[in-house]
């Protein structure tokens, strides 16, 4: 038994009011506990309904360490299962996505299942007669994930049987997803392609925290965004139009004052976003015809309201970030205590001009790809942190920036944009969902 295993107090002690212990990033036991408690207790992003366009379409995903499978049934309903055969545990679907036809068929002994998961057929069924098979869990087919919520086509699941409802868990934070979807004149998003994938040799939480870290861009990205601005100034000649590429890189170099006043909003349960008043996405040039489409769809006032909301990064605790203004979702998938798979998805705004999709794809490869110079800046810092935290010199990470002693947990508030409050907010939620139900657990084990 390790230092922390299922000891509620020991885990809670890793998070102080404005400091966290390095074990949360480097201790494999803590990682195991996150997989066992934190991820199952939280609502986790599985995929987008547009990936399940027709019956038989499926996608696979992982929640914590557990492989899951989502499918579109013949009646149009979407189901999420554990991706394992009830016979001997073989993974039913091995590809990221596909169409299984009318049923899933296990490749090992050909048990088959309807697309709602129920058992369809077993070869030589006679062999199970009078064996009591009817009373087994296997007879029920694919084990279903019972807590599934589809919000404006975003599919979320919670593995744990107990916990907060989807509405209580996300609350007002869903406004970022609303805004992203509303940016389509048809109120619809579509996934058209596979995500960009990027392997990070660091703890998953470093990535999540970085989404609302506004004190690093002008420092860490001087090398990439700073150079882009410098080269453009030198090479622009008499061109009057700033290329899309430079528009995307440039704002990363905004000064501290810009981030201070653009603000951060926090919500209960660890969610929060940067870019309240404005953001690095505020000043992209207009795309021909788009505003007219939006006005036609929503009316003048509402169209401007939708497009005027340019939130920067919204963290949905624990492990996704949504960037509404460029239609990107980043999924930080924990692999090991020091290994995180990042999948960056781009959604197409259905009915909007191609140029917006082009811009979103460009942003994704400029910032989120393994070939991205901005990505190189960030990953270098995470890797150095993962190394540096092995040091015993100081075992605490400091999150005290703009801390006030009377800070309340689980509230909605708008604060100074350079605050580390959202990181404190996340760690409060981390401790909460890590230990949720843990007392009962410990008693049961005794």
């Amino acid at each position: 038994m390790g230092k922390h295993a299922s000891d509620r107090r020991s885990i809670a002690a890793l998070v102080r009011e404005a400091e966290v212990h390095r074990d949360v990033y480097v201790d494999p036991e803590i990682f195991d506990l996150e997989m066992e408690h934190l991820f199952p207790n939280s609502w986790i992003y599985v995929g987008h309904a547009s990936q399940l366009g027709k019956p038989g379409d499926f996608i696979t995903a992982t929640i914590g360490r557990q492989p899951v499978l989502a499918s579109r049934h013949t009646d149009g309903s979407i189901h999420v299962f554990y991706n394992r055969c009830p016979h001997k545990g073989v993974k039913i679907a091995s590809e990221p996505c596909g169409n299984t036809g009318k049923f899933f068929r296990c490749p090992y002994h050909a048990w088959s299942f309807k697309t709602d998961g129920s058992l369809l057929a077993i070869p030589l069924k006679k062999g199970y007669e009078a064996t009591g098979f009817g009373d087994t869990q296997a007879n029920e087919g694919l084990s279903r994930v019972r807590n599934v919520a589809i919000y404006r086509d975003f599919i979320f699941a919670r593995l744990s049987e107990r916990g907060l409802s989807f509405e209580d868990y996300f609350g007002e934070s869903l406004s970022t997803i609303d805004n992203m979807v509303d940016r389509s004149p048809e109120g619809k998003l579509a996934v058209m392609a596979a995500p960009i994938r990027y392997m990070h040799t660091c703890n998953w939480k470093m990535l999540v925290e970085n989404q609302t870290d506004t004190c690093h861009p002008m420092v860490a990205h001087e090398s990439s965004a700073g150079t882009a601005v410098k080269v453009w100034k030198r090479e622009q000649g008499d061109s009057t139009e700033t290329p899309m590429a430079v528009q995307l890189y440039g704002p990363f170099m905004s000064p501290y004052e810009f981030y201070e006043q653009s603000g951060i909003r926090i919500w209960p349960n660890g969610h929060g976003h940067t870019g309240v008043a404005n953001s690095i996405h505020s000043n992209y040039s207009d795309v021909d015809g788009y505003l007219d489409q939006m006005v036609a769809a929503y009316g003048e006032t509402r169209a401007h309201e939708i497009l005027g909301e340019v939130r920067h990064n919204t963290v949905y605790f624990p492990n996704i970030m949504v960037k509404g203004a460029v239609q990107i979702l980043r999924n930080f998938i924990p692999i090991a205590v020091d290994r995180t798979l990042v999948e960056s998805w781009v959604y197409r705004l259905v009915g909007a001009p191609d140029k917006l999709y082009e811009r979103a794809l460009m942003y994704n490869r400029f910032i989120n790809a393994p070939t991205s110079i901005v990505g190189h800046d960030d990953l270098e810092m995470y890797e150095r942190a993962q190394e540096g935290l092995k040091s015993n010199g100081n075992q605490w990470i400091n999150l005290r920036r703009l801390y006030a002693a009377d800070e309340q947990p689980d509230v909605t508030a708008v604060i100074n944009g350079t605050s580390e409050r959202q990181m404190r907010n996340q760690f409060h939620a981390w401790a909460k969902f890590m230990t949720m139900g843990m007392d009962e657990h410990t008693e049961a084990a005794q």
């Binding site: 960009i196 392997m199 090398s223 410098k230 453009w232 290329p243 490869r365 393994p370 110079i373 190189h376």
Partner: protein, 158 residues
Amino acid sequence: MIDDKAIIDFIYREAELLDTMQWQSWLDLFHSEGRYWMPLEWQQQDPVLQPSLMYEDLLLLKVRVERLAGERTFSQKPKSRCHHLLQAPRIVACDVAAGVFKARTSYIYTETRGDLLERYSGWASHDLVQVGDGLKIKLKRLDLVNFDAPFGNIQLFM
């Protein structure tokens, strides 16, 4: 006159410039409208409305080159190095009259930094045009055999 040998020599020379980190001379090989493209899909057709790992013009390539030498480019402390192992290029098109040429080269690319070493395999397609007596790159396309795998940092040029 551009012949097969001139095209093949050009491609080997390009790899040599990258391996010896002569970035400026490498940039000089590009046509002013040249592009460097690394697709993210099998036999991808469209670099703009389909996702790519890279699709960059000369301005963006210059940014990369300048960044590599930057005082505050922390991901290059220590510096990366690279190695290209090329199979003999196959000439796909050689239109001397129009001055357009195309070659395909199978390669293994190694990038190393500190104690790490990463290896990639793929095919490079060169679209070349004649400018004066020489050749310039109109498009360099790099199709990785495992384009869909989750890579770590790829900081130099394949």
